[in-house]
Symmetry: C2
Subunit: 291 residues, 2 copies
């Protein structure tokens, strides 16, 4: 199962998920100028980042919104980026947050698990319910694919739905987590985690430990580190022995070069150094928590 | 505001939203064979449907999942379909159900309100909260755009989140509806409806009437008619004087030709006849309800 490949990759390379949320204005000016079109500029920037961070990245996450924003040219770069990552043997999460039902969901599954936009994992949004996840299950069972479903996010607006308490006293995100967990138990890898993972934003200490304990077999995709305020100690709560989750950083890695004098010329090395720094910082926090 | 254009279009042409959820296997075999590639086949099928149904369609909805499923070629057909619809002066809803926050949501707004994939309205999913809607607001105020946000759907899985009762006794979809309604009041058209609309699936009589009354200024995008079980009397509950909502039908219209002998050759005329039939059936149900 794909979750075993992700688990092994994290075991070997660490928990950092390098987020390729590549906006054209993130590219160093000189580098951008050297390309004639958007497709080549975006793809070649990604390629340099991928090559440089590869050995310290547990996986890569490609945020499709950034490519959709450039229309067909952007999606050509998206396609090439996914292909390059998969050919290198990386585990790739397509951050698409799709959420629909029936034949429409089948079409999304086909779109992102086969053909031009094939990835290993996709992210999904659960608002329409568990039947919006079901069309992806045949790919999990038969095609070495997996999903990460939005459970709990840390943005201000999360209060509007996720943090509403239901009449039985459970937060909505707990309702979602528990339902997904039951579904996930039928799609377990050998590593002890399910190929149905959850997107789980940072929280305070007690709740973080409780979530990790209760959802012991759910692999977490953890957003919000760095630029969005999450600290190494926060994400460590979700990482048992340094596995069971990956921690995404996008701008923190892609734009690391802006914090270095003359960083523009070696933006890829700056990205690699930040990936290593982040990996080691989180590993140290996990060690401290378990001490 | 765009909502005024939609209102006027419904006033003139009726409540039917023609859903272009175009799967390759919906195309008549002979027609499909006459094209050399997927892009041309999908686009030319759509073009025939659009031309034939144009006078009886209040608006068109293009379901992006069906085009994503065919990769770049599918998205080229998607782009051409949107362009053709907008050049003809149709009101176009891009059914994308995106849901993300911050810069990612800004990129989705840019993707679907400008450039290759420009449409008039997009559908959105609210799970991450109201800050996943906010990045679209500048386009509503300055660029004649609008959104339909998922509120209440009628699929089985809707029970998993939307139909959970919160501790204050409100269903989650009511929480969503009420929050969107407040937001929508700042983006009102002259027609009395907001450019922030809601996707509202069919329900039983009392609740339908209550929702329509309470959310008096919210324009509804109503799925589920026909193939999905919704009846004219059900959708009529949501339509004040035959406006204030549009009723989507996709397969019912695209595949109308399969119910006619030799329908394959004139699939577009069959689609047009079904659009007219549906429009008149719903208009009669609205009239009966108001009698």
């Amino acid at each position: 199962m794909i979750i075993d490949r992700l688990y092994e990759s994290v075991d070997k390379k660490g928990v950092v998920c390098v987020g390729l949320d590549t906006s054209l204005d993130y590219l160093p000016a000189e580098f951008l100028k050297s390309f004639e079109n958007i497709e080549d500029a975006l793809f070649n920037f990604n390629k340099r980042i991928i090559d440089a961070t590869f050995d310290a990245a547990g996986c890569f996450k490609v945020q499709i919104a950034y490519y959709e924003a450039y229309g067909i040219a952007g999606l050509m770069a998206y396609k090439k980026t996914l292909k390059y990552l998969r050919e290198k043997g990386a585990v790739v999460i397509a951050d698409i947050k799709r959420g629909d039902i029936a034949k429409t969901a089948e079409m999304y599954a086909k779109a992102h698990f086969t053909g031009d936009f094939e990835s290993d994992f996709v992210t999904l949004s659960p608002y329409m319910g568990l039947d919006s996840i079901e069309p992806y299950l045949p790919y999990i069972d038969n095609e070495e694919k997996g999903v990460f479903v939005l459970v709990r996010t840390s943005n201000k607006g999360a209060e509007d739905i996720q943090y509403i308490k239901s009449e039985n006293g459970k937060m909505i995100y707990d309702e979602v987590a528990d339902k997904l967990y039951v579904m996930g138990e039928k799609h377990m890898g050998n590593c002890g985690y399910s190929s149905i993972g959850g997107v789980m934003g940072c929280t305070h200490v007690e709740e973080g430990l409780e979530l990790r304990k209760r959802l012991a077999k759910m692999f977490f995709l953890i957003p919000g580190y760095g630029a969005q305020g999450g600290k190494a100690e926060d994400v460590a709560l979700y990482l048992k022995d340094g596995n069971g989750g990956v921690v995404n950083s996008s701008r923190g890695i892609l734009l690391a070069y802006r914090k270095q004098e003359n960083g523009e010329k070696h933006f890829d090395e700056c990205a690699a150094a930040e990936t290593v720094r982040m990996r080691d910082e989180i590993a140290a926090a996990v060690k401290k928590l378990n001490a």
